[in-house]
């Protein structure tokens, strides 16, 4: 089917889903929502794949709005990639919803949920496929409102309502900035269509290009959760129900990146180094701040939300690196950086959705998300634990999973900054690379802590001790996602081949040859590699699989000049084979040779008869060293301590109440709010109630407008 037809199918399914949500009886609602949602996501996947596979970019002109332009939809490789990702996340989330929504059967909100769910699916697809400003903004606003409604769907608490409201408000501010960027471009192009803007961009003066970049970057960066604008993210993601959180982190934040990529990479790429450096710095900062907070928070979902900030930071840093390479005249490296960014975005969508679904499952099974009170869930919820383990290993960037592949690619790309000429830029690259490396290390800490405190050890509360495994569809959806993570990690060369088709039109250079040498093709087709190295790689087994596995090869390898034939090389595909062999052989040997049985004994606890759970490390205790070392970021005020004694000397309670503010709030949001209040207070002096003065205001405004209107 043609992409256009698929799009129609998708929209029809979304409509059907919304309709069914209103019409179906209560008991069947979860199945209805989940079923149609699954079908819709399958069509998304199909649409995305079709768009990627097709050699031309079909467009669709919808109706024309007078004075504003024609609404167009365009299916180009970039959009198709994002649509595919969206579908890959929507599918397991829909399956998960089958079990998750059973909890809500009988409640009035469930119908509303069904309508919103399908509406969101449709609006996201429209945002991604929009071909002109008007469509984009209309769909974007629909998406913003629908996601807000989904976030505040379930929770009645004050903090959650405020969190949703903050998401909407801050999001609107970002949308405004993004819209301004688009309007600037449209004014230069005298048309709202992206194709026209692309041609007109060459006429823009430097200052305006900077303006467009800054507005688009910081405007869409709000949706992506980058650091100066990330106050809403750690509040909104935890407030949403489990499957919606997965959507937020797996689909909605991608839209922010999509906006940035569309404007900054596709339509109006900068020609100086400045914007790239800005993006790189903002990205690295977001990554560091995100992971620092992820390491020290105790609510599972808050940890994951901060981790989303971190990963969006990594993606942005890679995009920034790409911009710098492009402006310096290294299109292949730029393509590599952009490819790494998009690959990481996809991987993040997969494992973050998995982790959020897991957090939702923990919340459902144990009734709480506070890591200081969880523990031992691996015995009570084994399926969830196994699936979440896959997600944890991915997000901690452990080979051979997908997180490792893209973190590695991003860092290697940053190392390629040696080819740049400007020393200052190289230093910036080095610092940001170091920051990202630190981030990777902290990520391991953060997720070892998150997994160990929640799932391993002994249960720290009654609720955790009585946790129950969740509905099989929920477990199945999570297991499916972890298999997808494994797949995305084990088959990088295929994914790189696909992403090359997305990135090539943006930077006008192919990176496939630079990253995946065709080991499976005849040797003569690989002239740039010297024979000696080729022999070595064949000796290492780079040709194993030729004839069995389709494609060019299974090794990711970047070639430098003749002095430096191999700059970096990696193959998770072969790694997985070797790992399996190793585990298998060792296991067999141990089985055969072992003469003694394994004895299970209670844990040694210094001679204690039983180790009670309050004598084990808590999540807060585990992260205190990080909190202490990075004191400057956390800036904790001295905790308030209240000592309650009996008879003056025997202490009954020592209460410690910590006070800590999120660094972005402390340094950005609060000062801005205070400043805005001050301005508002100053302006409020105009509201004094004297009607004579108000009449004077009206008169003055009229005179000013007349004067302005008369100007040519």
């Amino acid at each position: 089917m043609t992409p256009v037809a698929l799009l129609g199918l998708l929209l029809a399914l979304c409509g059907a889903g919304a309709l069914l949500a209103v019409v179906l009886p209560d008991r069947r609602l979860p199945e209805g929502v989940a079923g149609v949602g699954a079908l819709a996501s399958l069509s998304l996947v199909w649409l995305g794949s079709a768009g990627l596979a097709s050699p031309h970019t079909p467009g669709l002109r919808l109706w024309t709005v007078p004075e504003l332009g024609t609404l167009t939809l365009v299916v180009d490789p970039l959009s198709s990639l994002f649509v595919l990702l969206c579908g890959l996340v929507y599918l397991p989330v829909s399956l998960y919803s089958l079990g998750y929504l059973r909890h809500y059967v009988g409640r009035a909100g469930l119908r509303r949920f069904g309508v919103l769910y399908h509406g969101l699916c449709g609006s996201v697809a429209l945002v991604l496929l929009a071909g002109d400003v008007l469509t984009f903004l209309l769909a974007w606003e629909a998406m913003a409102v629908l996601s807000y409604l989904l976030v505040v769907f379930d929770d009645d608490r004050d903090s959650s309502i405020r969190a949703g409201w903050m998401m909407l408000a801050v999001g609107e501010a970002g949308t405004l900035a993004g819209a301004l960027a688009f309007f600037l471009l449209a004014a230069a192009a005298r048309s709202g269509e992206f194709a026209a803007m692309r041609h007109a961009v060459a006429t823009l003066p430097e200052g305006l290009r900077w303006g467009v970049f800054l507005l688009a970057f910081f405007g869409f960066g709000v949706k992506a959760g980058l650091v100066p604008m990330s106050s809403w993210l750690p509040r909104a993601h935890p407030a949403a129900p489990g499957n919606v959180s997965a959507l937020l982190s797996g689909v909605i934040v991608n839209l922010g990146i999509y906006g940035i990529v569309r404007v900054v990479l596709d339509i109006a790429p900068p020609q100086t180094l400045g914007p790239g450096v800005v993006a790189l710095l903002v990205g690295s900062l977001s990554a560091l701040i995100g992971i620092l907070y992820a390491t020290t928070q105790t609510d599972l979902k808050v940890v994951l939300a901060h981790s989303s900030v971190e990963h969006m930071g990594i993606v942005t840093a890679a995009i920034g690196a790409g911009l710098v390479f492009r402006a310096s005249g290294h299109p292949v490296l730029a393509a590599m950086a952009d490819l790494a960014a998009l690959y990481h975005l996809g991987n993040h969508a997969l494992f973050k959705a998995l982790l959020f679904l897991g957090a939702g499952a923990v919340d459902r099974g144990a009734g709480l998300r506070d890591m200081d009170r969880l523990g031992g869930l691996v015995k009570r919820m084994p399926g969830t634990a196994l699936a979440v383990l896959g997600g944890t290993l991915s997000i901690a960037a452990l080979p051979p999973l997908n997180g490792f592949v893209t973190e590695w690619l991003v860092l290697q790309t940053l190392l390629r900054s040696v080819v740049l000429r400007e020393t200052v830029v190289k230093i910036v690259f080095a610092l940001c690379g170091a920051a990202l490396a630190l981030t990777a290390a902290l990520a391991v800490t953060a997720f070892v802590r998150a997994y160990a405190m929640s799932f391993l050890g002994i249960p720290r509360s009654k609720e955790a001790a009585q946790a129950r495994e969740v509905h099989p569809t929920m477990v199945g959806a999570m297991v499916g996602l972890s298999l997808a993570c494994l797949g995305a990690g084990v088959l990088p060369t295929f994914i790189i081949a696909t992403l090359d088709r997305v990135v090539a039109p943006l930077v006008h250079a192919h990176v496939l040859d630079a990253l995946v040498p065709p080991f499976f093709a005849p040797a003569a087709a690989v002239p740039p590699l010297p024979q000696a190295f080729l022999k070595e790689f064949y000796a290492l087994g780079a040709q194993v699989g030729r004839g069995i596995v389709p494609g060019r090869g299974l090794v990711v390898l970047h070639r430098g000049g003749p002095q430096n034939p191999v700059v970096f090389a990696m193959s998770t595909s072969y790694m997985v084979v070797v790992l399996l062999l190793f585990v298998g052989v060792t296991g067999a040997v141990v089985r055969v040779l072992a003469r003694r049985k394994v004895v299970r004994a209670p844990c040694w606890a210094g001679g204690l008869w039983r180790l009670p759970p309050d004598m084990t490390y808590t999540a807060t205790g585990f992260s205190t060293p990080v909190r202490v070392v990075f004191r400057a970021v956390f800036h904790p005020s001295a905790p308030e301590e209240v000592v309650d004694t009996v008879g003056g000397y025997w202490r009954r309670a020592v209460k410690r109440i910590p006070h800590e503010t999120y660094v972005v709030d402390r340094l950005v949001s609060r000062p801005l709010t205070r400043g805005a209040r001050r301005v508002a207070d100053a302006l409020a002096t105009l509201h004094h109630g004297y009607i004579n003065a108000y009449v004077a205001y009206v008169l003055a405004t009229l005179l000013i407008l007349l004067a302005v209107g008369r100007m040519p």
Partner: protein, 532 residues
């Protein structure tokens, strides 16, 4: 031993007490030992005790509880500085007991009252933390009170398995607070203690040392045994201070029997007591060096400790000075030539201790770990009634050799070192200064050693007596009541470790985990001495 000035100060206190509280009776004032027994009704105890400590500058030494058939006999020991003697408050209460707790006013009595409640079942009204002290609740059912007269040893039955529901008292309420358990089996070679450290991650907010894992029931075993057999118990309660405790026990029996020792016995006893003090202090120095992981310094200190053990064995036949004391003197004499040779060997040891200390003081990494770490303020030390080198490092100048001279110490001028900062470094300075002072005292003793017999016969008559020593860890009191036939009816030991463990948590709280073993080592506490 006593000067006329003393008599007046003690008598002044007695007169002032009687003037203020007419119900107080002066039972007796022993002129030789300068001990005044004041009988008062139990209701007056808190006021009197606080007055003695706050207004008359006495220190609380301990509480002796005796189970007479129809009543409880309580004896609160207070001792003053040089010349002020001792005041014992004697109270009796019928059974069941109605005794107010003095701990809110005189906090040093806290653990004494808890121990009495656990072992006797004697409830002190107003004490908020009775129970689960000596007899651990997860092992012993509540009703077990071993020290009562009518409870035989064979009637004590622990639970077949520890109660899995036992939980320690949790004090810290903070998000993410948890308990860090250390023990009872921990580290390489340590005595059994269970530390519960409450923390939120980095620094320790509250330290709760749970002791009495080495509780052998010495006070119970002693009942009904002969004085010679109880002497063996006194030696083996805490072997690193064995001579000091056996000395205190013998002095109690000698006081009871009214026996005066020959001069050679007294001086020789002091020499051996100082030798033990020297070896104990060098052992503490070694423990601190090992805790701070200074391997060479620890080895040097270990060499010194082993040499002192060997010297002890050469002089007395036993490395820990077992079997030397007996009521009436010593069990064997030590040849003068051997003593002179020992004094010469000790000169070399004194030099090496000085060099070791000098080396430690110039090692910045070592100083970093003991300076300003484990601070115990003078107010806390006074309020909790701490004794020994630990208290002297916090500015509390109390030493029984000077305040309540005994044995041969009236012949020596003992210089007691005093520091004010109360941190680990101050304590180390005191340990080292006292070790060096011990060498000097031994030398002086050996020079001034008279000839003569080393023992007189001592037949214990029925009655009760108190013996006290400045053990290496601080003040120790032994109370012995002997019945007919030379059988011991009640034996109470108050040890310096029992007093000082009470205040250990004050120094260890608010510091990081890594500092904990070092602070523990600088306190030089003994677990078996506390647990008995």
């Amino acid at each position: 031993m006593i000067s006329t000035g003393t008599r007046n100060r003690l008598q002044d206190t007695v007169d002032a007490a009687r003037a203020r509280w007419p119900e107080v009776l002066s039972l007796s004032v022993d002129p030789y030992y300068q001990i005044a027994d004041l009988r008062c009704p139990p209701a007056l105890l808190p006021d009197l005790a606080e007055w003695l400590v706050a207004d008359r500058a006495y220190a609380f030494g301990g509480l002796v509880v005796e189970d007479a058939d129809a009543r409880w006999d309580l004896r609160y020991l207070f001792y003053g500085t040089r010349g002020a003697g001792q005041v014992h408050l004697v109270a009796a209460s019928g059974k069941p007991a109605v005794v107010p707790s003095i701990s809110p006013r005189v906090h040093a009595a806290d653990w004494h009252e808890r121990e009495a409640e656990d072992l006797f079942g004697l409830v002190f009204e107003g004490h908020p933390r009775l129970g689960d002290f000596v007899l651990h609740n997860e092992i012993w059912p509540e009703a077990v009170v071993p020290l009562r007269q009518d409870v035989g040893l064979d009637r004590l039955r622990p639970r077949p398995e520890p109660d899995p529901g036992w939980r320690p008292l949790r004090v810290v309420q903070a998000p993410g607070a948890f308990l860090m358990p250390v023990g009872p089996i921990y580290s390489d070679v340590t005595a059994p203690t269970f530390f519960i450290l409450e923390t939120v991650g980095e620094d320790v907010i509250r330290v709760f040392p749970r002791l009495f894992y080495a509780y052998r029931g010495v006070e119970k075993i002693a009942v009904g045994r002969s004085v010679e057999d109880v002497l063996l118990l006194a030696e083996r309660v805490a072997a690193t201070s064995s001579f000091a405790h056996s000395l205190a026990f013998c002095q109690a029996v000698e006081a009871l029997a009214g026996v005066r020792l020959p001069a050679r016995a007294r001086v020789l006893r002091s020499i051996l007591a100082e030798l033990e003090r020297l070896r104990y202090h060098v052992g503490v120095l070694r423990d601190v060096c090992e805790a701070t992981a200074l391997a060479v310094a620890a080895s040097q200190a270990a060499i010194l400790e082993e040499e002192l053990l060997r010297l002890s064995c050469v002089l007395t036949g036993h490395r820990y000075l077992f079997g030397m004391n007996r009521p009436g003197g010593l069990t064997r004499d030590v040849e003068d030539s051997q003593l002179h040779k020992a004094a010469r060997d000790l000169e070399a040891i004194e030099t090496r201790i000085g060099e070791l200390w000098q080396g430690l003081r110039s090692t910045p990494s070592f100083l970093d770990r003991v300076e300003e770490v484990g601070i115990l303020s003078q107010a806390d030390a006074l309020f909790h009634g701490l004794v020994g080198p630990v208290a002297r490092a916090s500015g509390v100048a109390r030493d029984l050799r000077v305040d309540q001279p005994y044995g041969g110490y009236d012949l020596f001028e003992v210089t007691v070192p005093l520091e004010q900062e109360g941190d680990g470094f101050a304590r180390l300075q005191v340990w080292v200064a006292e070790a060096l002072e011990a060498v000097r005292l031994i030398r002086r003793g050996v020079m001034a050693l008279p000839g003569g017999p080393v023992s007189v016969s001592c037949d214990p008559v029925p009655g009760a007596g108190l013996g006290w020593v400045e053990a290496p860890g601080g003040a120790a009191f032994h109370w012995v009541r002997v019945g007919d036939g030379g059988r011991v009816l009640r034996y109470r030991l108050i040890t310096p470790s029992f007093t000082n463990w009470h205040g250990f948590h004050l120094a260890a709280e608010r510091f990081a985990f890594q500092d904990f073993p070092i602070i523990l080592a600088t306190f030089g506490l003994s677990v078996p001495e506390n647990d008995r």
